[in-house]
């Protein structure tokens, strides 16, 4: 068995996918060239959505003609980056069905289901299983902003016919119901009638022999109409193929003219002729056409390589200046990358976001606290960062990449304490970082030096490790509260000992002092330091640490 995933009006859907939410409610058309070019009269409408079609816009019209019929229409050039991104999304959805997927054409993926457990048996239950999986794939695709349909049959050709003729309400905006203004015009295939169905075609659910109760139940399922399964039997296949228009078999112009002269308008009409006779009159190509019409065309699939780099990027026709459209698209990218990661049994370790600006670029890497394939986590991390980001110029391109890693499987130590929700903490810390600065949140890590205040902030580990008693490191005295930077002070000295201290917030006679504690280090570098420290008790002001460095006195902090 093979499945064919078809995304109708692929260039249009690819462009609509990167438009802000609600783009499909406006009249939109994709042109054969750049509509902004000087020769816009030579630029024609390639595809348009239902809103534009309702206003009288049709493929083939020039830009001025389209604008005359629909003054508010948005004309977009085909976008290579958008189509590449949509192709990746389609492949990701196809890989949820089988690892053997061919990128047959833009918007068409052929999936080899042979050996798949859900189709291994001839019974009706197997057909039901693969139907469920196919609907799930369509749902994935919908979440990625693409409307597709799937045909499943014994050969790739029949599966393609089934996909092309399945009844589907095309949706182009995730999360919105498939009705009226979200529906694309169905003009891409000449053989399609209103609603995408073919007169006389049998109910696909009957073709797999499901009982009537099951049929009613199946019909109520979401995306049920976007999946068509042709049972692998000669009778069912012939009954399905017979009424289909001959154009679906892709005859050449010459063959179409000859067949028209013969009065052959359907696949069944051609296959009713003996193959040898048809080949004798139409030549070798005619035999191939007959095979295609009979659904007997066999070919070896060229399997698409699973992605080695998990990334998605798109360039915008017009720069984006607000957050919402960016988030809209990022959510799509997150879903798509999560799907690709899941298909390859990977999880994300890091996210890399690059915003190409009109002038310059903004890049940021996000390390995830624990490997995850959850698109929601990806999105919340990015959302938190972008909420506080301000750029001087509009965003003209977006790129999101993921560093893959194997999902984390480990056994915790008996006394280790792991986080309840590592990604929740990461999200919280990102939000805190947005308030105080991301470089000012983390786990304190002591540098391997004796230089005062040599500390940096490191990432938060995902567990608190158990440690035995740390009694070997005996701590003495009160801890220090530092003044950052140290406060300059005036210190009176008698007999080489401080007797009076005057600094911001600290003033008084020294009632007791211990020191000096001499320290120096890194004499070999430009950051050489040398100082004499004193612990002093100042009358009425408590315990403090003061130090002298290069002839200057400072109050470093207070012991508390």
């Amino acid at each position: 068995m093979f499945a064919v995933l078809v995304i109708p009006d692929f260039p249009l859907q690819a462009v609509l996918r990167i438009l802000p939410a609600g783009g499909s409610r406006r009249a939109v058309a994709v042109m054969t060239g750049d509509p902004a070019s000087a020769g816009s009269r030579q630029v024609g409408v390639l595809q348009c959505n239902a809103v534009a079609a309702a206003a009288g816009v049709a493929p083939g019209l020039t830009a001025p003609q389209a604008m005359a019929r629909c003054p508010g229409i948005e004309l977009h050039a085909r976008s290579e980056s958008a189509e590449a991104s949509a192709r990746d999304a389609a492949l990701a959805a196809a890989w949820t069905l089988s690892p053997r997927v061919e990128n047959t054409a833009p918007g068409v993926c052929t999936i080899d289901l042979r050996g798949h457990p859900a189709v291994a048996g001839p019974g009706r239950s197997e057909a039901g299983k693969i139907g469920v999986l196919a609907r799930a794939a369509i749902a994935c695709l919908d979440a990625l902003g693409l409307a597709g349909r799937i045909g499943i049959a014994r050969t790739p050709r029949i599966a393609r016919y089934a996909a092309d003729t399945s009844v589907v309400a095309l949706r182009v905006s995730a999360g919105t119901p498939a009705n009226s203004d979200e529906t694309l015009s169905r003009r891409s295939r000449g053989g399609l009638h209103e609603g995408g169905s073919v007169p006389g075609a049998r109910d696909p659910r009957r073709q797999v022999g499901l009982p009537s109760e099951a049929l009613a139940k199946e019909g109520d399922l979401p995306y049920a109409s976007a999946v068509r399964i042709i049972a692998p039997s000669d009778f069912d296949e012939c009954a399905f193929l017979a009424p289909l228009p001959i154009e679906l078999a892709d005859p050449s112009e010459e063959q179409a003219a000859v067949l028209s002269g013969w009065g052959v308008k359907t696949l069944g009409g051609l296959t009713a002729l003996p193959r040898a006779e048809a080949a004798m009159r139409l030549g070798e190509d005619g035999a191939a056409l007959w095979d295609r019409a009979a659904g007997r065309e066999w070919r070896v699939l060229r399997h698409a390589e699973p992605p080695r780099a998990f990334e998605a990027e798109v360039e915008f026709e017009d720069g984006i200046e607000t957050l919402e459209p960016l988030l809209f698209l990022l959510r799509r990218f997150c879903d798509q990358l999560a799907l690709q990661l899941a298909a390859a049994n990977f999880a994300a370790a890091e996210l890399h976001l690059v915003l190409k600006l009109d002038e310059g670029r903004h890049a940021r890497d996000f390390r995830l606290p624990a490997p995850t394939g959850d698109a929601g986590v990806f999105f919340s991390v990015l959302h938190t960062h972008l909420e506080t980001l301000k750029t001087d110029t509009p965003v003209v391109a977006l790129r999101l990449a993921v560093t893959p890693t194997r999902p984390l499987h480990r056994q915790q130590g008996l006394f280790d304490s792991s986080l309840v929700d590592p990604h929740g903490l990461n999200e919280t810390l990102a939000r805190v970082g947005a308030v105080v600065g991301s470089e000012r949140v983390g786990v304190p890590v002591l540098e391997n030096t004796r230089r005062p205040d040599a500390v940096r902030l490191g990432p938060v580990p995902d567990r608190v490790s158990w440690q035995p008693e740390l009694a070997n490191v005996a701590l003495h005295g009160l801890p220090l509260r530092r003044h950052r930077p140290p406060r300059p002070a005036r210190v009176e000295v008698e007999d080489s000992r401080p007797v009076w201290v005057l600094a911001d917030g600290v003033a008084g006679p020294v009632t007791a002092a211990e020191g000096p504690w001499r320290g120096s280090g890194e004499w070999w570098s430009a950051e050489a330091w040398s100082r004499d420290e004193w612990d002093v008790e100042i009358g009425g002001a408590g315990l403090h640490r003061i130090f002298e460095s290069a002839g200057q006195w400072f109050v470093e902090g207070e012991y508390d």
């Binding site: 006394f415 105080v436 801890p479 508390d560």
Partner: protein, 221 residues
Amino acid sequence: MRERTLSVAALRQLVADRLPGPADSRRGAAALPTGVPALDEALGGGLASGALTEIVSAGAGSGGQFVQLCLLCAAAGLGRRAALVDGADAFDPQTAGAEALRALIWVRCGDAATAMQAADLLVRDANLGLVLLDLRGCPQSALRRTPATAWYRLQRAAEGTAAPVVVHTSQALVPSAACRVALTGRFGIDSCGRPRDALSAEVEVELLRARWAGGFAEAAG
């Protein structure tokens, strides 16, 4: 004036007797022992979970930072992760000790307003077993500008978690604190050479406010 104070206290007692609040029921259920005997005694066993505790320490030598480290060590000892929101960026990891740093998340703030915002976010995170908001060193003028609603918001957020929330101030400040203690002792220079374990017994604590099963108690201050 005294009569009025008494009548308010009596009214609070009456309400506490008849309508035991959520803090009351939590009190005995979960508490984080601090490891400082005087503080544990004043708090009735330790820091109350899901409640605001205010620790007031007047200045250098009172042992405020030492108590803070004891709290961090106590949380780490139980495998709880602690967040320290450092309002004046005064925490010194070099003298804190490895145990205090083991489970610590340090948020270095520049002012009281950002510290309040950061604490408000952290208190809501279920991963944290202790949240310390250190506002010592922040200008009093800025702290006084903090609206009371912000403190009650923090209290409400704390009630939704199992983590104790400690606000460390240099003057009594938090109107929504379930418990307020003051560190009244003063360490001398001789403490610098003594083992830290021995110092915990010398911390002096005075209970200024307590609001739990025993009802409301408002001491001077």
